[in-house]
Structures are given as structure tokens and as C-alpha cells.
């Protein structure tokens, strides 16, 4: 079963790059994209993604608040905060909100490795419930 990603960023450019990077792995697919927190929460409950890549600064509710609401519902789904503002303090706040790891947008290189580590050893089942076939949900 392929690992399904929900990617959330207010920049189409960043989402496009994320698609390129993530889809380079044949076992990974993008099941939904959102440009803000509200839309992301809606897709999250509809699509049951296995991993969420989340921007921090977005219109409306920010990434940390979005993550807090997601992990209240499904704490097992790993959430990665992808931000220009990575700092130890932000990381602390992020972890309190249930975010597993923070990746700097200016040095996105470790992202893939980090996600692989979050998903556990190769071949093991992704740690999320929900197996409904998910279409290409698009909002925002």
C-alpha cells in the first residue's frame, strides 16, 4: 500500500516542489493539497492521509494550530512542519502541538530521509488508520 501525503502550503510553488520531491518515491503519493489550515483540516478528515506536510505561516490559522487540531483527532498520523522559520523555540511549540519533526524550507534536503525515518523501517505498514482510496483532493 502506498503512503498517502496531504500537503499544506499557501504557495503553489512550494506545493509543486513538494510534489516533485515526494513523488520521486514510487511508494508515495499526494492524496490532497490545501492552501490554508481550515481547508487542510477538512481534507484531513475526509482523506485520512498517512503523513501531513504542513506550512507554518499561512492565512487564517497557522500550521501549529492546524497540527494541534489534527493530532487531537488522529494522534498517530505523523505531521511534518515545513517552515522558513525553523528555530528551537518554534520546534518546542511544534512538538507540543503533536508535530513529529520540523524541516527548514531553506534546507529541505533532509526532508525525504526524515519522512522515511518517521514511517519506520521499509516495508512496515504506515502508522495511520483509514485505508479508503483517496482521490486527488484539491482545495484553496
Amino acid at each position: 500500500m502506498r503512503t498517502r501525503f496531504l500537503i499544506v502550503d499557501d504557495s503553489e510553488l512550494v506545493r509543486k516542489s513538494l510534489r516533485t520531491v515526494l513523488q520521486a518515491n514510487p511508494d508515495w503519493e499526494i492524496c490532497g493539497e490545501a492552501a490554508d489550515g481550515e481547508a487542510a483540516l477538512k481534507l484531513f478528515s475526509e482523506l485520512h492521509p498517512n503523513v501531513v506536510i504542513l506550512d507554518f505561516q499561512m492565512p487564517g490559522i497557522n500550521g501549529i494550530e492546524t497540527a494541534r487540531r489534527m493530532s487531537a483527532v488522529a494522534p498517530a498520523v505523523p505531521i511534518v512542519l515545513f517552515t522558513q522559520h525553523a528555530s528551537p523555540d518554534l520546534e518546542r511549540h511544534a512538538r507540543e502541538a503533536g508535530i513529529r519533526s520540523v524541516v527548514s524550507k531553506t534546507n529541505a534536503f533532509p526532508m525525504v530521509g526524515m519522512i522515511e525515518a518517521l514511517l519506520g523501517p521499509a516495508g512496515s505498514e504506515p502508522a495511520a488508520e483509514g485505508s479508503a482510496d483517496c482521490g486527488k483532493g484539491q482545495t484553496g
Binding site: 510553488l13 520521486a24 507554518f56 531553506t106
Partner: protein
């Protein structure tokens, strides 16, 4: 109609004849003349209108001139009223002293010389008018500078946001694309791989520079997760750029504060650290933010530098050559109802800002 606004002159005497005389003398001044037949009537006028000069008889039944002067001076609104006593009796030096101690500006004995009385009243009427003009200008200036500071904050926030929204994603995309390429280095020749490596470094430097500019303009963490993380992050960046060692001590019980308080406190700390770097020569700085009372926040920034330049033994804190920094801080604090204190010696400078906050700050559980 003349350009200047008329001021009110209150004449107080229990004898109607005298009031008419004063009126005749002062009519030429073209100000508003108000007559009162008793101390009580005078007080009624004082409470209702803005009076520039009070001309009053010392001896009146019930409330005499001295008693009335005492009552006027006790009221903060009336502190600046010029009181001129007129008296036919009580003419000893002790009486005069008594009058001046009650805040009188003059003590005139009867018979009154009309030209003299008119000239004296004119001086105080003009003074009152000028004071009023100055107060109006001062109020206008204050509200202008408060608006300018707020606009500056808003403008900085907007530019930082624009940088984040336009250049930020470009850099992120570049960085990710480079990351993709880097995974294929085996397919690339060593020279191409080297250029790629250089590109990576360039993107990182570019991103760092943009991030510094954007953070100095407006700290992104301030709006999103609050003052304390924003200050910590700013202090870390400042220490890195300036090589000034910064010690940060923040009370966690402060929590979130209203946006205008957060941005003002942040700007004050930012301004202080900029001064430490530009003027003090200090290699260290410390920031301490803690509640000093239930509803009062104290922000303290200290350095061990050479202190502020002094003019006539007084720190030149408001001097124009010190830029708008300190007066900007004062204005921000005035808007919040706070105060600024500066202690400066050759061993260093401490800036202490006290900021009232509406909610009581209690320890986190």
C-alpha cells in the same frame, strides 16, 4: 474678527461699582470679561469655563479672596490660572507674602492705575493663550508620532510578509530542487556536482540574508506564538550577527499579551540591543522581562559599555544626536501608559521600561 482666540477673564468683587470700573479698564483688551459678585459665584464660573486670569478683591464677605485662591489652587485643573489680587486694605508685606504663597501672580493696591492693570492682565492673557496653543500642538504632535509608529510597524509587517510570501517560496522550491539533484550526484560529473554544491550554499546564504531582513522588519513568531519566543529568537540572531553575548531571562508566566503591547515591547528590546551594538562598545547585554507587580511588566536591558554621552552631567538621552531611538521608546510607552527609566554611567547603561498590562500575570500551573 481677530485671528487669536479670546480668553476668559474673571473679575470677582462684592461691590458692583468696582466690577464696572474693572470692566471699563479691561474692555480695551477685547477679551471675554466675566463678573462674579462673590467667591461662590466665582467658583461656579471656574468650574464651567476655562479661565485665564482671575482678578479678585481680597476682602469679601463669606469667602474672602485668600480662601478662594486656596480653593482654586487645590484643584489640579486650575493650577495654571493667573490670580491677581486687588486690595484697599491688607497692604503689609506679610499680606503680600500671603497672597504670593497662595499662588498669586500679583498684588495690586487701590487706587488702581488703569494702564498698569490693563498691561498686567494683557501679559497673563497672552501667556494663557500661548500655553493653550502649545498644549494643542503638543497633543497633535503626540498623536502624530503615535500614528507614525503604528504605521511604521504596519509597514514593516507588510514588507516582511511580502518577502515571506514572494521570495520565501522561491527559495524553498530552489532548495528542494537542489536536494533532488543532489540525490543524483552519481550521474553527474564531478564538476557539475561541485557547481551544484556551490548552488546549494548560495541558496542557503540567500535564504539566511532574506530571513534576517524579514525578521528585523517584523518577527514572524511574534504574531504566531508570542513575545517571549520572538525575543529569544531575535536575541539569538543578534548575538550571532554582532558578537555581543546576550543573556536572556524571561518569566514564562507573562504568556500572551495584547498585540500592541507585544510589538511595542519587542521594538523596545530591539532598539536597546541596537544601541548596545552601535554606541555602547559592550561585549555583553542582558534582557530581563518579568512582572514587577500584578499588572506591571518590567523590561530591562543592561550592558557593560561606556555609558551614554552626557551633557552638563545629564545623560543626553533625549538629545537629537542619539537618533529617534529613545524618544521613540518613550512615545511607545506613553501610548501604553508606561514609563522609561535610563541609568547610565561609565560602567554601562540600564534601560528599564515599565509597561502596564490589563490582565494579572499569574504563575503557570
Amino acid at each position: 474678527m481677530r485671528e487669536q482666540e479670546k480668553v476668559n477673564i474673571l473679575m470677582v468683587d462684592d461691590q458692583p461699582g468696582k466690577l464696572l470700573t474693572y470692566e471699563a479698564i479691561l474692555n480695551e483688551l477685547d477679551e471675554n470679561l466675566i463678573k462674579a459678585r462673590s467667591g461662590k459665584e466665582a467658583l461656579d464660573h471656574l468650574l464651567r469655563t476655562d479661565i485665564a486670569v482671575v482678578l479678585m478683591d481680597v476682602s469679601m464677605p463669606e469667602l474672602d479672596g485668600f480662601q478662594l485662591a486656596d480653593m482654586i489652587r487645590q484643584h489640579p485643573r486650575f493650577q495654571k490660572i493667573a490670580i491677581i489680587f486687588i486690595s484697599a486694605v491688607h497692604l503689609t508685606d506679610l499680606d503680600r507674602l500671603n497672597a504670593y504663597q497662595r499662588g498669586a501672580v500679583d498684588y495690586i493696591s487701590v487706587p488702581v492705575v488703569p494702564e498698569l492693570l490693563r498691561a498686567k492682565v494683557r501679559v497673563f492673557a497672552d501667556l494663557h493663550r500661548k500655553t493653550q496653543q502649545l498644549e494643542t500642538l503638543n497633543r497633535d504632535l503626540r498623536s502624530l508620532s503615535a500614528r507614525l509608529l503604528a504605521m511604521q510597524d504596519e509597514e514593516r509587517r507588510r514588507i516582511a510578509r511580502d518577502l515571506h510570501d514572494s521570495i520565501g517560496p522561491l527559495i524553498a522550491a530552489l532548495s528542494m530542487n537542489n536536494g533532488m539533484l543532489a540525490q543524483q550526484t552519481k550521474k553527474l560529473g564531478p564538476e557539475v556536482a561541485d557547481v551544484l554544491q556551490q548552488n546549494n550554499q548560495l541558496v542557503e546564504q540567500l535564504s539566511k540574508d532574506i530571513r534576517t531582513i524579514s525578521h528585523l522588519l517584523h518577527p514572524p513568531l511574534l504574531d504566531e506564538i508570542g513575545l517571549l519566543p520572538a525575543i529569544k529568537m531575535f536575541a539569538e540572531g543578534f548575538a550571532e550577527r554582532s558578537s555581543v553575548k546576550v543573556d536572556v531571562e524571561l518569566s514564562p508566566e507573562i504568556g500572551r499579551l495584547p498585540p500592541n503591547v507585544e510589538i511595542s515591547v519587542f521594538r523596545i528590546v530591539q532598539e536597546c540591543l541596537t544601541n548596545v551594538y552601535r554606541h555602547s562598545g559592550s561585549k555583553t547585554a542582558s534582557i530581563k522581562i518579568a512582572p514587577s507587580q500584578e499588572k506591571l511588566l518590567t523590561v530591562q536591558v543592561r550592558d557593560e559599555g561606556k555609558g551614554m554621552p552626557r551633557t552638563n552631567g545629564v545623560p543626553a538621552s533625549a538629545a537629537s544626536n542619539h537618533g529617534v531611538g529613545l524618544s521613540g521608546m518613550r512615545e511607545r510607552l506613553r501610548e501604553l501608559g508606561g514609563t522609561l527609566e535610563i541609568k547610565s554611567s561609565e560602567n554601562g547603561t540600564t534601560v528599564i521600561a515599565a509597561v502596564p498590562v490589563a490582565k494579572p500575570m499569574v504563575k503557570n500551573v
